[in-house]
Symmetry: none
């Protein structure tokens, strides 16, 4: 075994729960003698040392991944929290824990990362919220610090050739699927409501809608933009209707936009949001769901391979397909 | 004293039996308050630590607090995530970081905690989701592991005398304030929609409504219960209306219940939820907001005083007032 044995390894080898291993180590009197012997044999065979800090001194491993906890904003803000839950679970399966920190901005984040690296507090990082001109990959790459990004390296001419591992969700495919399905249901004038300024995510989602629409359908009158705000979305869609626009259905770049659109259009016009938030679920609005459990699992795999320690370098990537949750 | 204090030393100093010392450490509710105070004073004075690894915790600081990340369920599930954000911020101000772990159940949680304690990986814990019969306080108390609970120790005859620190939000006051405000607006028949089975939180919220209602108002016909589910809440309120019930307003134990009630009552009857979730905000439903930033700050203060390291023992508590976010 290439990594120091963990309680989970001992439990697996002895065919018992982690609690039982812990009992044998700490309160042997509560465990049956035959079980105790089996666990003790596994402890010996695997060379398990119960003291993590001693193990760390020996191996320099912290069995910990660092993650910046970002502020939560709005209806879709909880998506990164849901990713965090999935990441903690995926990391736990490899005996890894998650150390959280906060930062004011990306420079502050790098300062925190530097501090954690110097203290050998973490074995690697999971970065979220990537953006055009993101300085973090180069910073970490230069210093040889293992990391994986949730979010493709926007702005690189060829993201597949990025010199670091990333995992992302194919938002274009999500909007393409939603639009194709609505067309198959007989809807023709399918609008898109997206964000005004260009961003990697927003542009990809718009392209998914564009690519699915029939070539003979003029898209300009169906293509709406407004800031990510419920009231603004409602005003924008109401304004388009007042101006003579007609929509058989509307696909949106976010659940926030979808909610505003629902208020403007009523329940009779199908609306599709993005991120499948509790708000969409509570109101029965269809939405594109990101496969966050798979994202987390892929992130851990890119960082650790199939083993139990962080790899020194890795450059793989995974682009995962979302699915549309349809609601009547 | 040249040797580490023992149970016998504590018993001698407090003038009680060793069994009584053990009771105070493990089942404080069975000991008279005056005796309890005497034993606790002796524990503090002698610096008694029941467990060797807890002594290590004190001397070898990790500048890290452990928190179990619980699964997210439903509309209100993100409340603990919002608390986590506030906690990471409050801890950061004291130079502390948060280590996350997951657990299947409370036994698994204790196994994880034990592992973290053995490894000196954390200086203390922040526990959430307290419940009647919660084994964690006694387990941690016995071993001298510093911790603070978000949630009062439900089930103790006198929560103020709990031998460990806790911080909680006064849900009773929140519902009382909401009801009082609705009465002042001229509403009379104010209903309550809560959960069917008894729980500390649910019962407190119901009591807040009961206590604010005028003594001459018969409450039975206004007191509704159903499971925490949007469709069930809608059915329950619709059923009450069909049965001849009339409501001027309705206060609810959760935003989930408030959303179902809103669907049943329409927007003309004021509805108040609990937890001020994004769903309540998006739909313009009034809601009781827990002061999570203050909760986190109080938790860190109870655990660390005004300093930058975790205190060996602390028994303070804070019951914070929520506020009602009124929406038209």
């Amino acid at each position: 075994m290439s990594h120091p044995a963990t309680v989970a390894d001992v439990a697996r080898a002895a065919g018992v729960s982690r609690q039982t291993v812990s009992n044998v180590l700490n309160r042997p009197e509560v465990v049956r003698p035959s079980t105790r012997s089996r666990v003790q044999a596994a402890v010996q065979e695997l060379g398990y040392r119960p003291h993590a800090s001693a193990r760390r001194l020996r191996t320099r491993q912290s069995s910990t991944l660092g993650v910046r906890l970002e502020p939560v904003h709005g209806i879709s803000g909880a998506v990164l929290d849901r990713f965090l839950h999935a990441l903690v679970d995926s990391a736990d399966e490899r005996g890894m824990r998650i150390l959280l920190f906060t930062a004011e901005d990306v420079d502050d984040e790098l300062a925190h990362i530097e501090h954690l690296v110097e203290g050998s507090d973490v074995d690697g990082f999971v970065l979220t919220s990537t953006f055009h001109g993101d300085p973090r990959p180069a910073w970490l790459g230069t210093r040889g610090v293992p990391f994986v990004m949730f979010g493709r390296p926007w702005g690189l001419p060829d993201v597949d050739a990025a010199p670091h591992p990333w995992v992302d969700v194919d938002g274009r495919a999500g909007l393409h699927d939603a639009t194709t399905h609505l067309l198959a249901l007989g809807h023709r004038r399918i609008g898109f409501l997206g964000w005004p300024s260009h961003s990697g995510q927003g542009d990809e989602r718009r392209r998914g809608w564009q690519g699915a629409m029939p070539p003979d359908e003029p898209l300009d009158a169906l293509d709406l933009t407004c800031e990510d705000d419920v009231a603004a979305a409602r005003r924008t869609v109401t304004g388009a209707l007042d101006g003579g626009a007609r929509f058989d259905a509307l696909v949106c770049a976010s659940d926030t936009l979808a909610l505003g659109a629902r208020f403007a259009l009523g329940a009779s016009v199908p609306v599709v949001g993005y991120d499948d938030t509790p708000v969409a679920e509570a109101l029965g609005i269809s939405s594109v769901e990101q496969p966050l459990v798979e994202v987390a699992s892929a992130a851990v795999e890119l960082l650790m391979g199939s083993g139990r320690s962080v790899l020194p370098a890795s450059t793989g990537h995974r682009l995962l397909a979302p699915r549309v949750v349809w609601r009547a």
